[in-house]
């Protein structure tokens, strides 16, 4: 089985193939000597037999489908699964539109962009007041604002689409 992931700005390809009672692992085409022991739901103890290095890792799906948060020791690593047709753009991420959603019920205090604006990753796009605090929501990646779906003053529910970036 073949898995392609985007981590930071790099793409990594992992294959897992059953071999007897175990799985053969490759990373970017190179066989990896690694021991993975499941120790709970979404939790593994990974060990590199050559060095003895041991890492407890947890994997949690953070959105429907393609995004995971992986913790390795105390590092948190966002991982995005890429499911492009093999052979088309091999290993490259398929960048669909990025949706900025309200993370909790609240009120839109300020909208900082308008449709057509070019935004950088981490640039603030909307300020929502919730839990008695103003929270600036940021663009998850660079792009162009396709749509601003709310007005200032609007009450929003958790999950409401605020801004769409392409």
């Amino acid at each position: 089985m073949r898995f392609t992931f985007e981590i930071g700005d790099r793409v990594r390809v992992v294959t897992l193939e059953p071999r007897g009672d175990t799985l053969a692992v490759t990373l970017d085409g190179t066989p990896v000597d690694i021991e993975a022991v499941p120790v709970g739901p979404g939790r593994w103890s990974l060990r590199l037999p050559a060095s003895g290095r041991q890492h407890e890792v947890t994997v949690a799906r953070v959105q429907d489908g393609q995004a995971f948060e992986v913790t390795v020791g105390d590092a948190r690593i966002p991982v995005r699964r890429v499911t492009g047709r093999p052979g088309s753009r091999r290993g490259a991420a398929i960048d669909g539109p990025a949706v900025v959603r309200a993370p909790m019920p609240g009120k839109v205090v300020r909208v900082l962009v308008t449709a057509g604006d070019r935004v950088d990753a981490k640039q603030g796009v909307v300020v929502v007041e919730a839990m008695k605090m103003e929270n600036e929501l940021r663009a998850p990646r660079p792009g162009v604002v396709r749509e601003v779906a709310v007005r200032e003053g609007a009450s929003v529910e958790a999950g409401t689409t605020l801004v769409i970036i392409e």
Binding site: F3, F5, T22, L46, T58, A60, V70, V79, R138
Partner: protein
């Protein structure tokens, strides 16, 4: 005192229930609609519904709390912190209903609750306040008048709510041009938060530290002060990490702070637990800032360095017992303690609250570590309240040992389902300025601004390789499971066995 109603929720309700149990008191929890399955409810002997979810509909409902106390037969009430803890009307209502209110008198709450009256009380007791306005500036005072006062003090000035607390209605005003907008904002915030738009002005000290003194007072006139707490690590005027003792305070200054704090408390006949907050200038001059007439969030670090259980003493003092704590021992730090406030917030999204379901929670344990938490797994951090999950306290024989322990404990902390401030603390505890103890109340906001949103715990390259493999294993397990419904993730994963 036999049965205690805890008029609060979350970690402080859990903390007070533990203390009540240690003291042999029966416990009555109260809960809003969304808190029915909450940890504090499940720990208590009895639990009674307040209804509602918003604080105003639930934990702030004095009428319902008094009614529940009556129906449950509770004879004492602990308010925790926040909610009604500094509400004199609640203390009065308890007294009228024949309930022992675990805290100071309603008069003391009322007096020190007015920040300008408190400043006058401090001055009267011979303790410097931060230079500023003596009287409240009423809601209808014209801008020009306020501007004149600010000019007399000298810019920059701090604009604060008279009825304030917790950074609400507070504004830093750099210059005369900024004053009108800041005044409007502060008045409006103060009005909505406290029902009182009156404000006052203080001179802005240059990079002061926040140092505070915990007090206990009995009803026989004795007041004891404890080793100071250093709370300069603040984000937008909110404390996020506290330690005791302060790296900036020596035994002489400690004695002077304690003496000043006791003088103020005695002058107003203060009883039970309270805290006097000071600003400490770079030259060692300290100024009275305000008094908190309740248990503070950060009280455990004082407990850990002095061996005194402050909540137990709150019970005893409320019963009229005499303070028997040796004042010299209370001022002698036994080692060093640090507290990190573990919030359900995403530090990589500007500390955006991250309420929701906690799937997995394993607090750190072992030597020198104390976790005062309010949740277990599965559990739900509601959107309606402060998102504090737990307070993690580390103790060491000295500051370095306490920091090392805290780093170890943070590494051990396992919370899944919500984002937390743990990665932020891991970063902070490695900052050279923090390690050197050279911080002030502006430090954190400055360094956070300079980082400009850079993630706190991003991928190192080697770890990213492992993350990719782990994600593949997870996806593989999930996909395989999908074809065979009755197996749980765990069993299925067990069958996958070791990879080599």
């Amino acid at each position: 005192m036999q049965k205690l109603l805890i008029a609060n929720r979350g970690e402080i309700a859990v903390r007070v229930i533990r203390a009540a149990r240690d003291a042999g008191l029966a416990t009555v929890a109260v809960y809003s609609d969304c808190d029915r399955p909450a940890r504090h409810v499940r720990m208590a002997d009895e639990a009674w519904p307040l209804g509602g979810n918003q604080p105003a509909d639930s934990y702030l409902r004095i009428d319902r709390l008094i009614d529940i106390a009556r129906r449950s037969g509770a004879d004492a009430v602990h308010p925790g912190y926040g909610f009604l803890a500094e509400n004199a009307d609640f203390a009065d209502a308890c007294a009228r209903a024949g309930l022992t209110f675990i805290g100071p008198s309603a008069d003391a709450i009322r007096l020190m609750g007015s920040k300008t009256a408190a400043r006058r009380a401090a001055e009267a007791a011979g303790v410097r306040s931060v230079p500023g306005t003596i009287d409240p500036i009423p809601a209808d005072a014209p801008e020009s008048e306020v501007l004149g006062v600010a000019r007399d003090l000298g810019f920059p000035v701090m604009l604060k709510a008279v009825a304030g607390g917790g950074g609400k209605g507070m504004r830093l005003v750099e210059s005369a041009a900024d004053l009108p907008a800041a005044l409007r904002a502060a008045r409006s915030e103060a009005l909505s938060a406290f029902g009182d738009a009156a404000v006052y002005l203080e001179r802005r000290l240059v990079n002061p530290r926040h140092v505070e003194v915990q007090l206990l007072g009995d009803t026989h006139g004795t007041v004891v002060a404890f080793v100071e707490r250093e709370c300069s690590i603040q984000r937008r005027h909110q404390k996020v990490l506290e330690e005791s003792p302060s790296p900036a305070v020596d035994a002489r200054l400690r004695a002077a702070l304690a003496e000043a704090a006791c003088r103020i408390a005695r002058s107003v006949g203060y009883t039970n637990a309270g805290t006097i907050e000071f600003l400490l200038d770079a030259d060692g001059t300290f100024y009275f800032l305000e008094m908190n007439t309740r248990l503070q969030v950060e009280h455990p670090i004082t407990e850990v360095v002095t061996g005194v259980d402050l909540v137990e003493w709150q019970f005893r003092l409320a019963r009229g017992e005499r303070l028997t704590i040796d004042p010299q021992a209370a001022l002698t730090p036994g080692g060093h303690a640090i507290e990190c406030r573990i919030y359900a917030e995403d530090p990589d999204q500007g500390f955006l609250p991250s309420p929701g379901r906690i799937h997995r929670l394993r607090p750190p344990c072992g030597p020198g570590v104390r976790d005062d938490g309010g949740y277990d797994a599965p559990g739900e951090v509601p959107v309606h309240y402060d998102s504090l999950i737990s307070k993690l306290i580390a103790w060491g024989s000295d500051r370095g040992a306490a920091i090392a322990r805290m780093r170890r404990a943070l590494q051990e902390y396992d919370i899944a389902g919500v984002k937390t401030t743990i990665p932020f603390f891991t970063w902070l505890l490695a900052r050279p300025e923090f390690l050197a103890g050279e911080v002030d109340t502006t430090y954190l906001d400055r360094v956070l601004a300079a980082r400009n949103g850079e993630p706190f715990a991003g991928p190192c390259d080697g770890l990213a390789d492992l993350a990719a493999i782990a994600a593949a294993l997870h996806a593989h397990t999930q996909q395989t499971r999908a074809a065979a419904p009755p197996a749980t993730a765990w069993l299925r994963a067990g069958r996958l066995d070791a990879l080599r």
